[in-house]
Amino acid sequence: MPILELHNVNKAYQIDSQKLEVLKDINLEVKKGEFIAIMGPSGSGKSTLMNIMGCLDTPTSGKVIFENRDVSQLSEGDLAQIRNQKVGFVFQTFNLIPRTTALANIELPLIYKGIPDKERKALAKKVLEQFGLTQRMFHFPNQLSGGEQQRVAIARALITQPLIILADEPTGNLDSKTGEEIIKIFQDLNKAGNTVILVTHEKDIAEHAKKIIKIHDGEIVRNI
């Protein structure tokens, strides 16, 4: 059974008098445990697609069914709750909060989930250990290397044990060697049973996924 379904999803932006169609009639479904790469050139709408899949954005028309719930019916507060508990985002630019320790950055989703301090710290430390970042626990983002920052960001995405992990060009700001390490992490996560969706424009990165969805000008052109 799919955990996420998109039915006839369209997304259009009104820029001045011009209507810009970013996504056209997208249909796809994600099953538990899948590793999907969404591939396409820049401007193809893949990031918008990812945002819609992660309930960070809503479609202009069409339906998004997240765990049997029609997302278009939900309030902003409910969407925030889904993002908090069911979705883990990883961004190209890491997006760690500056002047905040690695530990505190990882704790963040748990604060919004309402987990008490002690439990939060324990969980965050466990995840840090899992990613070999225990030594970096009290370091600030500007004291970490790019790879380390991205690992902290992945740890933050994982800490709530989300249903789906969405990574938008996670290797885009990293050198190729570090990029491979990060991709390896996603592969391992998938092996451990996590559902991973990877957005990229690089073919060799996409090939690490089990399934590739190619998108061009807002339309799915190939579904491998």
Binding site: N51, G54, L56, D57, E76, G77, A80, Q81, R83, N84, Q85, F89, F91, N95, I97, P98, R99, L108, P109, I111, Y112, K113, G114, I115, P116, D117, R156, T160
Partner: protein, 405 residues
């Protein structure tokens, strides 16, 4: 929810501490506003209790007859004429004094009264002080008797003799251990014979009541070259209600003077008028000080808006990991409230310290009421001026916020 609130509060503290100087400068407006409001209100109440205390000290049977129409109606509206207008024009003559003395049936004592500044010298030392022209009944009326020698008597007053009674401070300053009785002091180029030294009345606030000298009001007229009596100080009989005494004073004076020429004040109405005037003054001054609170509030709003813009990306990220618009709103509201409330508390402490430092001059008090007011105003400022920036943060679109550079 409590857990989230607590975390949000901690977060606000961390953020504000990360920008110490900025936070301090932002709070400064509130600190200055609150401390000056507290200080001004406490000075106002200090002045009030100082003046009230002094007037009460004069007794409730005293009437003051002053020139000019000074309508003193407790709570009532004044009926025409600018209060105090014409006070500078002296209206009373010695004839009025005689009439009051001879015709009055309800008066225990009638005194002419004047206040002038004069320099009194003796043996090379000279001091400038208040020279009170009073009646011979002054010691009984004021309940302050000579420590040495005697006060002047009725006939000395009648004749306008150049006699002087010294306050204790004056006697100490000019004579030291020397016995001043019978000595001649100089006042406005005239030689005065010292008749006596009055017992200590003590300082009231910063004013030393013993740093003045007393001469007959008739003598004061010639010494300071005026042909009019400044004012009258009438002591009513204990058994007669003060209103009756007041009515009689008016009746006698109206034979030769017009209604607008003079006013008869009693201690009670004097206190109520001064209290009223001081009350209005205090509120006006505190109101002006409160303007700086608004300015401070605008400062907070300004810096919160900057903070929201600076942290656009952070806000986007927080939303992406599950912060609801409400919690973002609360986060920024708490920040602005921490700024304004901390500023308020520091302001209260500074204002109270300032008021305490004024104690040497005035019996200032910091009322619970003014502290409560200042505190609630700073809370309100935090909310009012925080809502706009916080609302802006809460409304940010997470995707655009994440892309913000």
């Amino acid at each position: 929810m409590m857990e989230k609130l607590l975390e949000t509060f901690k977060l606000a503290l961390i953020t504000l501490r990360a920008n110490k100087l900025r936070s301090l400068l932002t709070m400064l407006g509130i600190i200055i506003g609150v401390s000056s409001v507290i200080l001004l209100i406490s000075i106002g109440s200090g002045l009030k209790s100082y003046i009230t205390g002094q007037l009460q000290d004069l007794g409730s049977n005293s009437l003051y007859v002053i020139p000019g129409n000074l309508e003193l109606q407790t709570g009532g509206s004044s009926s025409g004429g600018t209060p105090g207008a014409g006070t500078a024009i002296l209206k009373f003559t010695l004839a009025h004094y005689r009439e009051l003395t001879q015709k009055g049936t309800t008066f225990a004592a009638v005194m002419g009264y004047s206040e002038n500044n004069g320099t009194v010298s003796y043996g090379g030392k000279s001091k400038t002080m208040q020279v009170a022209g009073v009646g011979y009944q002054y010691p009984e009326v004021r309940n302050q008797y000579p420590l040495l020698g005697s006060f002047f008597n009725a006939s000395q007053q009648e004749a306008g003799k150049k006699v002087i009674v010294l306050g204790k401070t004056v006697a100490d300053n000019l004579f030291g251990n020397e016995n001043p009785l019978g000595k001649k002091v100089t006042l406005s180029d005239n030689k005065f014979t010292v008749l006596g030294v009055l017992e200590k009345k003590g300082a009231f606030g910063a004013v030393d009541m013993d740093n003045q000298v007393f001469i007959p009001f008739t003598t004061a007229m010639t010494t300071f070259d005026v042909d009019k009596v400044q004012s009258f100080w009438i002591e009513g009989k204990e058994t007669v209600p003060i209103e009756e005494t007041k009515a009689e004073v008016k009746k006698i004076l109206l034979r030769t003077l017009k209604k607008d020429d003079f006013s008869v004040l009693d201690t009670g109405s004097l206190i109520s008028v001064i209290t009223q005037v001081l009350g209005v003054l205090t509120i006006a001054l505190a109101g002006i000080a409160a303007i700086s609170l608004i300015v401070g509030g605008i400062g907070i709003m300004n810096i919160m808006l900057v903070s929201v813009t600076e942290r656009t990306k952070e806000i986007g990220l927080r939303k992406a990991v599950g912060a609801t618009p409400k919690i973002i709103m609360v986060q920024f509201l708490i920040e602005s409230m921490v700024l304004s409330v901390t500023g308020g508390i520091v302001g209260i402490i500074l204002g109270a310290a300032g008021s305490l430092a004024m104690r040497g001059f005035l019996p200032t008090t910091v009322s619970f009421w003014s502290v409560f007011l200042a505190f609630s105003v700073s809370v309100i400022i935090g909310v009012v001026f925080g809502v706009l920036p916080a609302g802006r943060a809460a409304k940010l679109n997470p995707i655009q916020a994440l892309r913000y550079e």
